[in-house]
């Protein structure tokens, strides 16, 4: 039952995020645009590149969707409303997100085209930049909760949300999450202006639909993870827990989508340099600070 409810909530969340994204991109709110776009994609001819690596070409988008669904499995919607409450939930989420890299490289390599291949390899570089900034803030979150269970992490924020307890970790995690979901301005693998779609360039019809759906699932999963780790998950007054999770998740997704539109696409070398030189230093400082606070002033 929980699985069905979470999957339904995920489907609704993906649709609303698609509405929000089309609002941000086109400047006009339309509740039907994503449905029309999805139907158009399903009805469109599926063009095969001339000499694809068929296995990678077909598997890449599906693996991306699976990676997104796996990461959703450990995000609690409310007490008891979670697909699986693993004791190593936070670690599992991280492991599931690692497959995003594999899937995108496959999707980039599979069509045997220059734009897609460069996009796929670019994401490898992007992964090198964001990987540590996903893991290290989660470490600090788990330190406070003294558990890797996502439910325990939410419960550990009953007195004070982690966004206030460890704001540096929050900022780093959100920026890294935007990198995982290749959201603007860190949309290097698809970069519309310099790769004409990148890993998406050679996909058409239903295959492109799966690729875009997978990206929406990943955006919802990362927004949900941000809510779970930093914004108190289902905790909140008046409304039922699931409603708080849903509202916070949509707000985080909307913020990530909107923020990116105000900034030019980051230069890959600069992104790597800042992530390693500044980001990792800050993440280490965050772990140290959280450790000191946990020892000195237990909140």
């Amino acid at each position: 039952m929980s699985t069905a409810v979470v999957l339904f909530a995920l489907a609704a969340g993906c649709y609303l995020v698609a509405v929000c994204e089309s609002w941000v991109v086109h400047g006009r709110l339309s509740l039907t645009r994503p449905a029309i776009s999805a139907l158009a994609l399903l009805g469109r001819e599926q063009i095969l590149p001339r000499t694809p690596d068929r296995l990678f070409f077909e598997t890449g988008p599906v693996l991306l969707l699976i990676a997104g669904l796996m990461s959703v499995a450990v995000i609690p919607l409310a007490p008891g409303l979670i697909i699986t409450d693993l004791a190593i939930g936070a670690l599992f989420l991280n492991a599931a997100l690692a497959y995003v890299l594999v899937a995108l490289i496959m999707a980039g390599w599979g069509p045997n085209g220059a734009y897609g291949m460069i996009g796929g390899w670019r994401f490898l570089g992007q992964f090198v930049a964001y990987a540590m900034l996903i893991v290290m803030p989660i470490t600090a979150v788990a330190m406070r909760a003294e558990s890797l269970s996502t439910v325990q992490i939410v419960l550990s924020q009953a007195t004070l949300w982690n966004v206030f307890y460890q704001p540096i970790g929050f900022v780093l995690f959100v920026i890294a999450a935007m990198g995982v979901a290749w959201l603007a301005p860190i949309d290097l693998p698809t970069g519309g202006g310099d790769l004409a779609g990148g890993v998406e360039a050679e996909y058409t019809g239903a295959r492109l639909g799966v690729l875009r759906l997978a990206r929406l699932v990943i955006i919802v999963a990362l927004s949900g993870a941000t809510v779970t780790f930093y914004l108190g998950g289902w905790l909140g007054p008046w409304l039922p827990g699931w409603a708080w999770t849903a509202l916070k998740t949509l707000a985080v997704a909307a913020a990530m989508l909107t923020l990116g539109r105000q900034l030019p696409r980051l230069r890959e070398a600069r992104y790597l340099a800042v992530s390693w030189k500044l980001g990792i230093s800050l993440a280490l400082a965050n772990i140290f600070l959280v450790g000191v606070i946990a020892l000195v002033v237990p909140i």
Partner: protein, 335 residues
């Protein structure tokens, strides 16, 4: 096959790695780059090893053509600068006839050129914004461009404050300087061969308008930037938008150049016009009231020839940004 076998005989990158280079077309239809530009990049991984740019335009008018048709035919040559090319044709015909334009009419025609310059720079800005992923800037610049294309002087005066406010906000866009600074630098020495905003952004004081009495009467003063990179080219074009708005306000009225009057049956004419992308020059020979030979020089060939050296070993995204910052018009290639 072993790794050694896979890469045997392949070119060696400057970093010592042996990789398979890929030849990839970027154009003639590519986001952020002008349509008609055939750009072939040889990629060494994510870096540009070689770049060749050329024009796919094949629309040179068939000669001979009746002299009174020349302005229309030349204007149709480039969708990016039709007013400037029409003005160029009219001036060349007037030079052949030995006539001059009345100051009032010359002022109105200069205002039409400036309107096209503003629209062109805004269109370039929208394209650059698309290329670097600034969708909000792209939409705003594109909307302003559409509103200005055929606007009269009063309408432009009404929109001038919002355009100037927009222009002053653009450089304050977060991370934009980071994105464009030190991209595609053109030194003062290298910029000597160019004209237009690209040369002026490198500090070269060149502008065909400087010597024109019409512009002197309107209070035109040459603006240049220093730095010569994509950021300087952005600042240069933004400054020129403000400058052109002031010139239109001074002129007060806009009129497109019409059909040239009193065309002689035989003769030679030459004229230059500062198009939005630099100086264009037209030489023509008239015989029996028709243009029997003409030569049009535009900024495109010099800029296109510089793309290869400029982008060598640049990261792909940076190289495309540098190329976009040149504002190429492949349609007006030399004819």
């Amino acid at each position: 096959m072993s790794m050694v076998g896979l890469t045997e005989g392949k070119p060696v990158s400057p970093d010592g790695l042996i990789m398979e280079w890929i030849e990839t077309p970027f154009g003639p239809f590519f986001p952020g780059l002008p349509g008609g530009l055939a750009l072939m990049l040889t990629l060494d991984g994510d870096s540009v090893a070689q770049a060749v740019a050329s024009s796919l335009a094949t629309g040179a008018p068939q000669l001979p053509i009746a002299a009174d048709e020349l302005p229309d035919r030349l204007a149709a040559l480039s969708p990016l600068a039709p007013v400037a090319l029409r003005e160029l044709a009219c001036r060349a015909l007037e030079a052949a006839a030995g006539t001059t334009t009345a100051p009032k009419e010359a002022t109105a025609r200069a205002a039409a050129l400036e309107r096209e310059r503003i629209a062109s720079h805004l269109g370039w800005l929208a394209g650059l914004a698309r290329q670097i992923g600034l969708s909000r800037l792209e939409h705003r610049a594109g909307a302003l461009q559409l509103g200005l294309c055929a606007a009269e002087a009063e309408e432009i005066a009404r929109q001038a404050p919002s355009i100037k406010a927009f222009v002053s906000r653009v450089p304050r866009t977060p991370l934009l300087h980071e994105k464009l600074g030190r991209i595609g630098p053109i030194s003062t020495t290298n910029a000597q061969g160019f004209g237009g905003p690209v040369a002026r952004a490198s500090g070269i004081r060149t502008d065909a308008r400087s010597d024109a009495p019409t512009y002197a009467a309107l209070g035109f003063s040459l603006h240049t930037e220093t730095g010569g990179d994509a950021w300087a080219r952005l600042l240069q074009r933004l400054a020129e938008i403000g400058q052109s708005l002031d010139l239109i306000a001074q002129a007060g009225v806009i009129a497109l150049p019409g059909t040239a009057r009193a065309v002689p049956p035989d003769g030679h004419g030459m004229a230059s016009v500062e198009t939005p992308r630099g100086k264009a020059t037209l030489h023509l020979n008239l015989k029996d009231g028709a243009v029997e030979a003409m030569h049009l020089t535009t900024p495109f060939p010099a800029l296109a020839a510089h793309i290869g050296p400029m982008t060598a070993q640049m990261e792909l995204a940076d190289a495309l940004t540098a190329i976009a910052s040149l504002d190429l018009d492949p349609w007006g290639a030399n004819t």
